[in-house]
Amino acid sequence: MPRDIPERVSTRRPWILVAAVAVTVASGAMAAEPPAAPPGGASGAAPPAAKPAANAAPRKALPPGTAEKLKSGDPERITAALEDARAAGKGATALASEISGLLDRGLSGSLAESALQALGEIELQTSTPSIASYLQHRDPKVRTAAAKALSRTKGPAAIAALRHALSDSEPTVRSAAASGLGILRAREAVGDLALALDHRIVEAAAPIGQLCNVDECNDFLGRLGRLPFDLMESGLDPILFRPAAEVSEDTKANVIGRVRELKTNEAHKFLESVQKRWPAGNSPRLKTLIDQAVKATNRASGS
């Protein structure tokens, strides 16, 4: 197994899986055939999230006078107001227009970052144009914040901006864009995400697995053996657990077969993880294939 991807890839994997789960659950697409356990990948415990992690925290009420602080022109007061708005989340919807206005009129890098985070928490689609323009900011931290915010405000403009951001010079921006496209279930971006995966943007794999059609899934599988397995893994998992209406049994059987052919320790661990999480009574044929693959890779990998 080649080990040529940067270290950051492996350190980011838990975050990707969280994002993958978040999208899968948020879409409601699994309702017809939910997995017994959330897909946790081969390497460890299943991630806990049933909702996006950022939404899990309890929201604070918006303190009075926040709007005035935003309009004060004083950097410290604006910072405090943006923090309050971020903490309030959708409770600060009334301030979205004012925060967008601040961005439109220009802010320092740190204030822009705070404003983008606040708009992301408010999740109002009308904020998207103001946020998207900050993907052209010179500070990569600001661009990353913009990409993350766009995955929350949604809409076609957000998808278009995130697709463009996949080509950003900064890895953190590219990663946020790939994850964001998954969160937004941007079917039209699967081709871009596949290209991003070829460029070792690890966060592209999970959205591909969540969104691919038959041809795209097969195209994705074609990368097995060519790309490092840990780059592919987070995309394989969703394909197997997607409902039959989205991914046929044959396609899933193909995934199991291709992974089995790898005959590596990583492949074995992955299949074993799938075996443990496979919903009871779900496709006996696939269950048999998984069991056989686990045994075969166990022997082949010498585990």
């Binding site: 022109g73 004083d74 950097p75 439109d104 009129r105 220009g106 802010l107 320092s108 890098g109 204030l111 822009a112 323009s133 900050y134 052209q136 900011h137 010179r138 500070d139 990569p140 600001v142 661009r143 996949l166 080509s167 950003d168 010079s169 900064e170 590219r174 871009d192 290209l195 991003a196 460029h199």
Partner: protein, 635 residues
């Protein structure tokens, strides 16, 4: 006469150095070392005239057109005949690079020197040397004169005149540093002391003539039926050679010009030809002396008439000229052809492998590379016309071209000089940065718009050395032609997924368009201001250029740039860009544009120096703040 007295004394002393014979298989008369004495008296050319009379009707035999290389583990000579492509090889230990002398190849190693037939590789003779290193050899078909050096650190030389059957006719020991000899009609022309050539009669053991040069001379050779001497320039043995001491000999001196790696026509004689090619072999100049009986080039022999003039007063052999008016330089993989009259670069050829030897012919240039390939290039364009193969990679190489015609073939992809230079610049070797910088200057000197394209192409190469890139940027900024190629470059933006990883040189292109006062680049320049990958220096230069190029159409993009950056600009280039863009907004942005600038001036987020400069803009562009009524500019 002093000359004759000295010669008789030398002969009488033959055998006096018999001790030195121990290491060598002496078969002939030993000649004492004061053959090269500085006591020799000038004879006003009488000796040279006598030698010329003696050689009248005797032309040096044509040398074999052959390339030889050191192959194997440095223990094999491989050769290819350049006319037929036929190969031969000869296995023998080698302690120095073999030499080609006329129709023979002389090698050294295993405690002996040996001589091979250059056409067949058949061994003609071998003589023990006690391990003295080979310096060079000359041959006239009857005698081979071999110069051997001394062991490391010791001064002096040994010369052996060996007959075809291997008998040593003469052995000369001297404490002088002797160069590479030539032999014609039993007379050896022996360079020594870096400024003399002694003519030595091998049979008579006499020195009938000596030539004094005011230039460095360490080698003698025959080519095209003539005898030449030189090191940094080329002198011909003709009726003018007796005046070499007063610099009136027929000679070719190449025009002084900057060349990559500062190549030499011949390396210093102290640098013995090693088995393995050195940097001097990779960075070399080559020239082919030739004869023009009609007219001459500007670099022809001293006293020659201007080009196109009749040949009155020409030497008997015709004017000494540079063949094809071309001389050549190699720089690792890069081969250049120059105009010998002015030194201008005529063509550049980028070779697939590093060139370690070459030879200039009457019609072209031959290079030998480390892969053992010998490539024929046309003199006029540097087109590769053909190839010979030594059969294996070689550690060093020697090429001799005498009568070979380098013709035939057609260029597959005729390129402009600018394209050729660009191709050479793309050779992926950071160690060539110095030479590449010179090539950039060559491109910059071309007015052709293709030169602009070449510069644009070169800078897009991610592997380009930063030093070279800096020169390319300077050259681009000075371009006044090729706007369409620069516009095409500006259309390119960084794109990670499309593997476009080098942004275009926005700043220099902006400067060029500003100098040309061409606003066609304004939209693209504005888009690059908004590209986070555009380096700050380029952002600054583009913004300055846009102050003259931008119009109302660019205002939306520039407003966005201003908004994104006025409060976050912390570096000098970015602050400068913000101010320049502020100036444009005041000029073309109308009330809305002025409002944007006013807001920045009023904002506590704006750095104080930026605010001050923005305020000053109202003086420069003479418009009122957005809040005030607009007044016409003062005249």
């Amino acid at each position: 006469m002093n000359r004759l007295r000295f010669a008789r004394r030398a002969i009488a002393a033959a055998g006096a150095l018999s001790l030195a014979c121990g290491a060598l298989a002496c078969g002939g008369a030993l000649t004492r070392s004061d053959l090269f004495s500085s006591e020799w008296a000038a004879d006003h050319g009488q000796g040279v005239d006598a030698v010329r009379r003696r050689l009248a009707g005797t032309r040096p035999a044509p040398g074999t057109d052959v390339a030889i290389g050191v192959g194997g583990n440095g223990d094999k000579i491989v050769a290819v005949l350049l006319d037929s492509g036929q190969r031969w090889s000869f296995v023998h230990p080698l302690d120095s690079r073999p030499a080609i002398a006329g129709q023979v190849v002389v090698g050294s190693g295993g405690g002996e020197i040996f001589c091979l037939d250059a056409r067949t590789g058949n061994k003609l003779w071998a003589r023990p040397t006690g391990g003295l290193p080979l310096i060079g050899a000359g041959d006239d078909g009857q005698y081979t004169m071999v110069t051997l050096g001394r062991s490391a650190g010791a001064r002096g030389s040994t010369l052996l005149a060996v007959e075809r059957d291997g008998d040593v006719k003469r052995q000369i020991e001297t404490d002088k540093e002797v160069g590479v000899p030539a032999v014609v009609g039993g007379l050896a022309f022996i360079p020594w002391g870096r400024q003399y050539v002694s003519v030595f009669d091998i049979v008579a053991a006499d020195e009938p003539a000596r030539i004094l040069f005011r230039d460095q001379v360490s080698r003698a050779w025959t080519q095209g039926g003539n005898i030449y001497f030189g090191e940094n320039s080329v002198y011909r043995f003709d009726e003018r050679i007796k005046d070499a001491a007063i610099e009136r000999a027929s000679h070719v001196m190449l025009p002084a010009r900057e060349l990559p790696g500062t190549p030499l026509l011949q390396p210093p004689i102290e640098e013995r030809p090693k088995v393995v090619a050195t940097a001097h072999d990779r960075v070399r100049m080559y020239v082919r002396p030739s004869t023009n009986v009609q007219t001459t080039s500007a670099t022809a022999s001293a006293g020659a008439p201007a080009a196109g003039a009749p040949a009155a007063g020409a030497p008997e052999q015709g004017w000494l000229v540079v063949a094809n008016s071309r001389y050549y330089a190699t720089y690792f993989r890069i081969i250049m052809g120059f105009d010998s009259s002015r030194g201008g670069l005529s063509w550049v050829y980028t070779h697939p492998a590093e060139v370690i030897a070459g030879a200039a012919g009457e019609d072209g240039f031959l290079v030998c590379d480390e892969q053992g390939k010998v490539t024929f290039l046309s003199a006029r364009q540097g087109d590769p016309l053909g190839e010979r193969d030594l059969g294996e990679p070689v550690k060093s190489c020697v090429v001799q071209v005498d009568g070979l015609a380098v013709r035939g073939g057609r260029p597959l992809h005729p390129l402009s000089l600018a394209d050729e230079l660009a191709e050479a610049l793309r050779v992926p070797n950071p160690e060539l940065a110095t030479g590449k910088r010179l090539l950039v200057r060559e491109i910059a000197s071309l007015d052709d718009e293709v030169a602009t394209k070449a510069l644009v192409d070169v800078i897009a190469d991610p592997a380009m050395s930063p030093f070279v890139s800096a020169d390319v940027r300077t050259a681009l900024a000075a371009r006044r032609t090729g706007a369409r190629y620069m516009l095409s470059a500006l259309e390119r933006h960084y794109d990670y997924l499309k593997n476009v990883l080098v942004p275009p040189p926005v700043g220099p292109i902006a400067q060029s368009f500003a100098a040309m006062n061409d606003p066609s680049a304004a939209p693209l320049l504005s888009s690059h201001l908004l590209d986070p990958v555009t380096p700050e220096q380029d952002v600054q230069e583009a913004a300055v250029a846009l102050t003259t190029l931008a119009g109302p159409a660019e205002v939306p993009a520039l407003k966005q740039f201003f908004t994104l950056n006025y409060a976050s600009a912390t570096t000098a280039p970015l602050k400068s860009a913000v101010v320049s863009v502020g100036q444009i907004l005041l000029k073309h942005g109308g009330k809305d544009g002025r409002a944007v600038v006013d807001r920045a001036i009023a904002s506590k987020l704006t750095a104080q120096d930026v605010r001050d400069k923005l305020k000053e803009l109202y003086e420069v562009v003479r418009v009122a703040p957005a809040s005030a009524p607009v007044t016409p500019p003062k005249k």
